[in-house]
Symmetry: C2
Subunit: 187 residues, 2 copies
């Protein structure tokens, strides 16, 4: 005799994201998630094969959010302006979901890492806009330079690496301007 489902994959991932942001990765336990969705820990394994898979699903959901935020930022019609806005949106996203952001490019065991296709999708806008300004044949290198700078800046900021003085907002604006110019054909 079937028992009615008492939760869903969606509810589990949503609860997991909330717990992750509130308590950090160590706080994201199967017990805690089970509690949040009103079920016993073993029941989670009906929807998710293990904790690594849950973390992966959460990261992939965050990648979707990021991709949408970047898309919304690229609406100026002018590539340089779009690139600046994309970088700003990237940083804003990281500040809204700092813990989830840490899963996107952070140092994780192999089987915790999100599907590569997820970040490819989320960074697609960037590759497209960079393609409009970069030297022919250098589009991929140029996109990787911008992404690396943006991720590096944001992750170091979140890690507290910029707490030794100076105006961090100014440093971001400086880097944004210089890096975008540097990868553009007509610097």
């Amino acid at each position: 005799m079937p028992t009615p489902a008492r939760t869903s994959l969606d509810a589990i991932v949503t609860a997991g994201r909330a717990i992750l942001e509130a308590e950090g990765l160590p706080g994201l336990t199967m017990h805690r998630v089970a509690d949040a969705v009103g079920v016993r820990p073993p029941s989670l394994y009906k929807r998710v094969s293990n904790r690594a898979a849950l973390v992966r699903l959460i990261a992939e959901a965050a990648f979707d959010d990021l991709g949408q935020a970047l898309e919304r930022a690229a609406t100026h019609g002018e590539p340089q302006a779009d690139l600046h806005a994309i970088a700003v949106a990237f940083r804003a996203f990281a500040r809204t979901q700092p813990q989830a952001y840490g899963l996107l490019f952070g140092p994780l065991p192999d089987d915790w890492r999100p599907d590569p296709a997820a970040y490819r999708r989320s960074l697609d806008v960037l590759l497209r806009v960079v393609g409009e300004v970069a030297t022919l044949g250098r589009e991929l290198e140029a996109a990787r330079t911008v992404t690396a700078w943006a991720h590096g800046f944001v992750s170091m900021e979140l890690a507290g690496a910029f707490r030794l003085g100076g105006d961090v907002d100014r440093a971001f604006a400086f880097g944004n301007e210089r890096v975008v110019a540097a990868i553009s054909e007509r610097g």
Copy 2:
């Protein structure tokens, strides 16, 4: 009646670093470290207040290594050449100790983070060399731009974010050249 010390803080940190690189952060357990230094887990707490403190000590030791590697790279006398070499050394370090590198600027709980003074020291060379080429008053912003790019590139590479095609070495060389030029007064 005193018992002779059977291990030391140094042995613990050294063993911890080896275990970290071999098995990753989840494999760095107090039990595993105790085994490696020939002692029972509770004895570790005589030298180290908890696992977070051990991770911090390991990260700080890695920061020392990094600082030395960067110092050794900056011996050209010509700032632009030094900057390129520093970035190359930075990447080489991350590849030699990928797990420890992940602790330096990675997303960690607050009480796991290395002392800010540690990375300040390790990145001191960079600030000094950047100071020789950057626009007056923009030295800190310029240094943060280079560091952000280098860390971003290296961490994304380690995270497997650059596995979708293209020549990663070429992308690194491209970014290195463009970013160094971008923060220099006379681009």
